[in-house]
Structures are given as structure tokens and as C-alpha cells.
Amino acid sequence: MIDLVAFIPRAIQQGIPLMYGSCGETITEKSGNLNLGIPGVMYVGGISGVIGSFFYEQSCAGKGMNGALAIMIPLACSLLGSLLMGLLYSFLTVSLRANQNVTGLAMTTFGIGFGNFFGGSLIKISGADVPSIALSATSGYFSRSLPFAGSLGWFGKIFLSYGFLAYTAVVISLLTAYVFKHTRMGLHLRSVGESPATADAAGINVTKYKYVATCIGCMIAGLGGLYYVMDYACGVWSNDAFGDRGWLAIALVIFTIWKPDIGILSSVLFGGLYILYLYLPTGMDHMELKELYKMLPYIVTLIVLIITSMRNKREDQPPQSLGTNYFREER
């Protein structure tokens, strides 16, 4: 049997980057922008944080680090990096009306290249003999859990053993769900994604909503990258380690039928499925089974896609204008 007390925290830690990514992508998609650049954005969010903390750690070499600064600097760098990615995407698709799919894919390629370039440069600067940068001091601040978590047995282990970014992800997801459902801003955002022409005629500034939603979405997704490096990976950046989590986050958006509150549990589920292969006894003879288990999150997404399209409930469908750009005077 799987050891649940060991497995669940691992699943949650796997799930947090996905939660950030899918929540950010959901906000973006609600505005009608299909941002396939999310893997790139998360990558940039991660490396930007790494760059910030790398130079801060360097500047404090030997001396004591300020805890607040150690958190704020990578956080601000990460947000700024992914904000720039969001602005770039919005500028290309909203202002210049470039094709969203092409732009998104290009941004993923760009983001990963950007990350690997600076990751490689930092490794060179630090002169490390392994191809990675270890920011264990900063990571210590990020992954610090509540002091009494350790004394609460399995409960503490499952619910309280995470760094603050994990809880922030849950709060952001809940907040986003509330904004979608109960505020005018959410209503307007949904209408922009459903039918920009209608929203425009109703006096909603479509361009503003698309820009803001995409940028906020990217910033949230970028935090997923930051969490991954600083907390999950214990501050160790190595190129390409982030893997296909960005794509998984996009798949998760479909899985959650565009509802960030469903996203909380589903990302943990996805996180669990993502690492399930490590916990299932396959033995050395059947390594191929491990590869099959790795497919689980994608298979589950396909099943959800089939079920929702069979039920054909209008509320469960993607925003109607998803993937198309809006131009008011087009006839």
C-alpha cells in the first residue's frame, strides 16, 4: 500500500505549481486569450526569481541575510518577469492581433530559452562544478513552515508542512473563483471571453480587460515557477528541470472546466498522478509501467474532455471567443 502520509504532502507540493499555472491560465482564458505561452511564463517566473535571489545572496556573501528581503526580492523579480511576458503576449495578440496559438507557442519557446540562457550564465558566474545553482539560504525562507507543524503528527504533515507560497496559491484560487462568480469585474471578464463584441457594446473596455487578465494571469502562473524552484526544488535551479508542468497546467484548466476553486483539489490530484509512478511498486522488470503511469494526468484530462462534451452543458464549455482576437470595426 502507498504510505498516504508521505504521499499526500508530495502530491500537494507537486500540485502547487500546477495550481498557480492553471489559475493564471483560467483568468487569462476567461478573457478569451488562449495563452499557450504559460509553460514559458512559468519558466521565466522561476528564473527571474532565481536571478533576483542569486544577486541578493551574492551581495550578502558571508553576512547575514534579511529574511524579508530574501523573500521580497525574488518575489518582485518573478512577478516582474512574468508581467513582462504577459505584456508581450497581450501586446502581440490584443494590440497587434497576432494569432494567439502561434504567439503562445513562440512565447513558450522563448521563455524556456530565456530561462536556460540566464540559468546557464548564472551557473557560469557562480563557478559551480555541477550544472545547477543552489540558493539554499533563500529557499530556507520560502519553504519555512509553521513552527508547530512538526508537533502535530500526520495532521501537521499533511496540512501544515508547506511554505507560505503553497497557502497563497489556495487563497488566490478561492479569491479568483469568488471574483468570477460574485463581482461585477468577474461578470465583465466572463462576458469579454464569451463575446467581446457584446461586452464592447455594453460599454466594457475589452482591450483593458484582456490586457489586465492576461498580465495578472501570467503573474500568478509565474509564481508557480517561483514556488517550484524555491520551495519544491529547495532552491536548486538546473536547466530544463521544470519539465512539462506548464502543459499540465493548461490541461488542468480544461479538467477544472474553467473553475479555479475546482482547481485546488484537481491540481493536487494531478500532482499526485504526476508522481504516482514513484509510489507504485513496479519492480525492476517492468520499468515500462512507470512510463505508462506518467501518462495518467493526460488520460484523465481526455476523459474529462469527453465527459463534458458529451454532457454538452453550456456552462462547462470553454469561453466562446477563446483563441480569437477582437477587432471592433471588422465587418
Partner: protein, 506 residues
């Protein structure tokens, strides 16, 4: 009562090289219903879109209550008390009625208060609206009501209705007119864009006429007649009578027997429909929209899954064949030339992003130069012929079809379909949204086809036209044939009765 609520002064708007409005001077008075009349592409909607903030004029000035105003966005228009109900509803399907009504407003979202206010408006003017219903559950006329309530909710004093009756039944139209009169009595100014002259007469105080983007003139409705309006609209005299020749060489061409169609939800769309369409004859099909007209035509064209029944095609010299269970390609390959001009022109008939020539090719791409290469030359020639013969207004034959106006799109589609000299021609709402001039071109084309021996099936909504164009009229009511009548000896009342009464003929 006589001061102007809205004044346009020398307003001009161009789209690229096309002048949509040039130098328009027009006043809309307080508390009046003004009809805006004009052919398709005469710039009515563009002019009103400028008032509603969708477009911004290139030059000229708009005045509201004699104050010069700048309307840059729909929001500015709302703030000035202007509300427009567009021809294509601007509603969001997955939201509720109440959510749609408050869309774009500011302040805290309080749907309870909203619902209360909606009810007040409904009671005041005589609407019926369920604020909690989702838009996708509403009928067309209910959606329109939501649009009007939305505009009133924002406190609009000036209402613009863009062809509101195009989608309504006569009864629903009457209801709408009643509400409009209530709003007028409340001091609101209403502008109604319409093609239907009898509606202009029925509802408006004054009528303003646009032609090719220019303001031609206005007149008091009660002091003018339909003849005058038409003349101002088209500038040349039109014969209002459709020239209908006696059918000659009549032979059964399509024989439909016991056709039954169910929709995916299991509801009968057609129930035991039987009739014969003859060559050299126009068979009109009348009925309230959604009574199975679409399913009937699509069953014959091979696009509809049929529950039971048969559609026999009877060639002159061969044995009849059943078309049921065959797709359009199979029907085509059997050598049956059947043309279908669907209701959804840009959705089913033409590809909006392709140019005229390529759209012509949609019919002929299989008969290319060789197995590998297509023949582009013949479609190009055909496109040129269609443009010339049917007077299609287009910058060139390389223009994407979606850029053409509704009438021209229809001409392109019909031109392509009749170019193959079909034995059977089916049209659904061929003149919907078209101005009088284009409509007559279409009627002419249909009559020519009939004289050439084609069996024409014409689904129409304007009963006057059906009575003048068709030889026989089949009336559908709720998917059942409620009667087949001779168009020459019947009248509108009989048709109206058949349309609303199941099995009215029996």
C-alpha cells in the same frame, strides 16, 4: 414635442474606400417614432452605430438636446441616454437575463435589486421577462425583449431598434409595436430601422430615407404612401407586381412521402410530411419560423437524419430514386442536379474568408484539370459572369465574401447555385435582410429558373411575396402539413389561419 433629441450635422463615415455615410443631416424629435428606411448598404445601421458609439464619425457633429457631444464608446452613448438594440443580439448565452441586463454597469453587483428593477420596467411597459433564465433557453423574441429591457434599464431616452421585426411572427411584432407605443407615450424617442413598408406605416410618425449613404429626405408617415417611400428609397420606379407566368410542362419531380424527422432530444421536427414538387413550378412553403422548414429542405438535400419516409426524385427518363440516406456528394454523383440555398448563407452556403472565385469553386472543385490539379479558370469566369449578370457590388472578384453586404452575398450564392442549371432549386428565406431592389432580382432569378423547367421550392416568410411568387403554397405548422393551397385562389387570411392551426385544412 417638436425639439430635436438628436441631430446629425454633416456626418461622414468611411470604411477604407467605401463611403458608408456622407454628409448626413438628420433630426430625431423628442417623443416620436422615426423610421429609418433604405436599401441594404445604404448606411442606416452605420449611422445608428455612430449614435450608439460603436463607430466614430470621420467628420461632422452629433448633437443631443442641442448640445454638441462626442460619443466615443457605447458607454458614452449610455451616459447620454442612447440605447441600441442591434439586429444581431448582443447577449451572452451562458449568463442569465439579469446578468446580461446589468452587463457593463458600475457599482456593486446586486442581482436581487436588479431583478426588482427589471420587474418594475416590465410592469411599466408591458414586457414579460424571467430574470433568472439563461439566455440560451430563450426564444428569439424573448431575447429581443431582454435587449430592450437592457436599454431601458440604463435609463435610455433615445432607443434605436435595428430591424427588430425581421425575426418576429406577426403576433410578436404587434406586441412589440404596443410596447413601442407605450414607450413613446412615456416621452421616449425611438428610431426603428426596417425594410417593411407596412410596418413603417403602422408604427412611425415620421420616416427618413437614406440612399447610398446619403440622406434623401423625410416625410410625415401619415401624409405619404408606400409608393412614395419606395421611390425615394430606390430612385427608380419599381413594379411592385412580381411577374408570375403560368407553369408549363409540369411533371412531378420530387415526391416526398411520410417524411418524419426528430431532433436529438427526440422531439418531432417533421411529422408525416407528404407533397410533390413539380418541374416548372414554384412551390412556396409558408409557416412560422422553426416549424420544420429547415429540416424539410435539409432532408431533401441529404443533410438531415431522417426517421422514416421517402424522398423520391423522378428524372424524366429514368426510374425514380430515393434520396433518403444519401449525402450531398452521393446525390451529386448520381447525376441529380439539386441546388440548395440555405438560410445561413455564410455558414452553410459560402465561406466568408474566401473570395468570390474560390466560393464558386466549392461547387466544382472535384472536376479539376486532372486528378491532382484544380481548375481555377472556370470558377473565375463564373464569378465574373455572376457579378456582371446579377449586378453584385464588389470591389473585385478577389474580395472575401464576408466583406459584401447581405444582398450581394445572396446574389453570389444564388448565382453559383443556378449556374449549374439545377433540376431542383431549394431556397430558404432567400430575401431575408435584403432590400427591395435585391429582392426583386432574386424573384426574377427564381422565376427564370421555373420557366426553364426547374422545380423550385421556396421557403419564405413574407406572405405577400409567397402569394405572388409561388404557384402552390404548402403550409407547415409544428412540423406537419396543415394545407397545400393554390396561390392564385387563396388569400393571406387563409394562409395565416393554416400557419397557426394544426391540421387547419382538414
Amino acid at each position: 414635442m417638436s425639439e430635436a433629441a438628436v441631430s446629425f450635422r454633416r456626418v461622414t463615415k468611411t470604411f477604407g474606400s467605401v463611403i458608408a455615410n456622407s454628409n448626413i443631416n438628420l433630426d430625431i424629435k423628442k417623443g416620436e417614432i422615426l423610421s429609418l428606411l433604405g436599401e441594404n448598404g445604404s448606411g442606416k445601421t452605420t449611422l445608428m452605430n455612430m449614435l450608439a458609439g460603436i463607430y466614430y464619425p470621420d467628420s461632422g457633429q452629433i448633437y443631443i438636446n442641442d448640445e454638441p457631444v462626442i460619443i466615443k464608446s457605447p458607454k458614452d452613448a449610455f451616459d447620454l441616454g442612447i440605447g441600441m438594440v442591434h439586429q444581431h443580439f448582443k447577449l451572452i448565452d451562458v449568463l442569465t437575463t439579469a446578468e446580461n441586463i446589468v452587463l457593463g454597469l458600475e457599482g456593486r453587483l446586486n442581482l436581487k435589486d436588479t431583478e426588482k428593477k427589471i420587474k418594475e420596467i416590465c410592469d411599466k411597459y408591458g414586457f414579460e421577462v424571467d430574470p433568472q433564465k439563461k439566455i440560451y433557453d430563450l426564444s428569439v423574441s424573448e431575447k429581443q425583449t431582454v435587449e430592450i429591457v437592457k436599454v431601458l434599464y440604463r435609463g435610455a431616452e433615445i432607443l434605436i431598434l435595428d430591424e427588430p421585426t425581421a425575426v418576429l411572427t406577426p403576433q410578436e411584432t404587434e406586441k412589440l409595436f404596443k410596447v413601442m407605443r407605450n414607450m413613446k407615450a412615456d416621452g421616449k424617442s425611438i428610431i426603428i430601422i426596417t425594410h417593411k413598408l407596412h410596418e413603417v406605416k403602422a408604427i412611425s410618425d415620421r420616416v427618413a430615407i437614406l440612399r447610398k449613404g446619403e440622406f434623401i429626405g423625410d416625410m410625415i408617415t401619415s401624409e405619404s404612401n408606400e409608393e412614395q417611400m419606395t421611390q425615394m428609397m430606390v430612385a427608380r420606379h419599381l413594379f411592385l407586381n412580381i411577374d408570375r407566368k403560368k407553369p408549363v410542362n409540369v411533371k412531378p419531380r420530387i415526391e416526398v412521402k411520410g417524411l418524419t424527422v426528430k431532433d436529438p432530444a427526440g422531439i418531432y421536427k417533421l411529422k408525416d410530411v407528404s407533397f410533390t414538387a413539380n418541374s416548372g413550378e414554384v412551390l412556396g412553403i409558408a409557416g412560422i419560423s422553426g416549424c420544420g422548414q429547415k429540416e424539410l429542405l435539409e432532408s431533401i438535400a441529404g443533410l438531415q437524419k431522417v426517421e422514416s419516409g421517402s424522398v423520391l426524385y423522378k428524372p424524366d427518363d429514368k426510374e425514380p430514386v430515393d434520396l433518403i440516406g444519401k449525402d450531398p456528394r452521393q446525390i451529386h454523383e448520381m447525376g441529380i442536379s439539386l441546388s440548395f440555398v440555405p438560410e445561413d448563407r455564410l455558414g452553410m452556403g459560402l465561406v466568408g474568408n474566401m473570395d468570390l472565385a474560390d466560393n464558386m469553386m466549392l461547387r466544382s472543385f472535384r472536376s479539376g484539370k486532372s486528378k491532382l490539379f484544380t481548375d481555377r479558370k472556370t470558377p473565375r469566369e463564373l464569378a465574373k459572369t455572376v457579378v456582371r449578370d446579377l449586378e453584385v457590388i464588389t470591389p473585385s472578384i478577389e474580395t472575401p465574401v464576408r466583406r459584401l453586404s447581405g444582398g450581394n452575398v445572396q446574389k453570389v450564392l444564388l448565382g453559383r447555385e443556378i449556374s449549374s442549371h439545377p433540376k431542383v432549386l431549394m431556397t430558404a428565406y432567400a430575401v431575408r435582410g435584403l432590400d427591395i431592389n435585391s429582392s426583386y432580382t432574386i424573384y426574377d432569378l427564381i422565376n427564370k429558373q421555373k420557366e426553364g423547367g426547374t422545380a423550385v421550392i421556396y421557403v419564405g416568410e413574407d406572405l405577400d411575396v409567397l402569394l405572388e411568387l409561388a404557384d402552390r403554397i404548402l403550409v407547415l405548422c409544428d412540423g406537419e402539413v396543415s394545407g397545400i393551397v393554390d396561390a392564385e385562389t387563396t388569400d393571406k387570411n387563409t394562409l395565416g389561419l393554416l400557419m397557426t392551426k394544426k391540421g387547419g385544412a382538414a
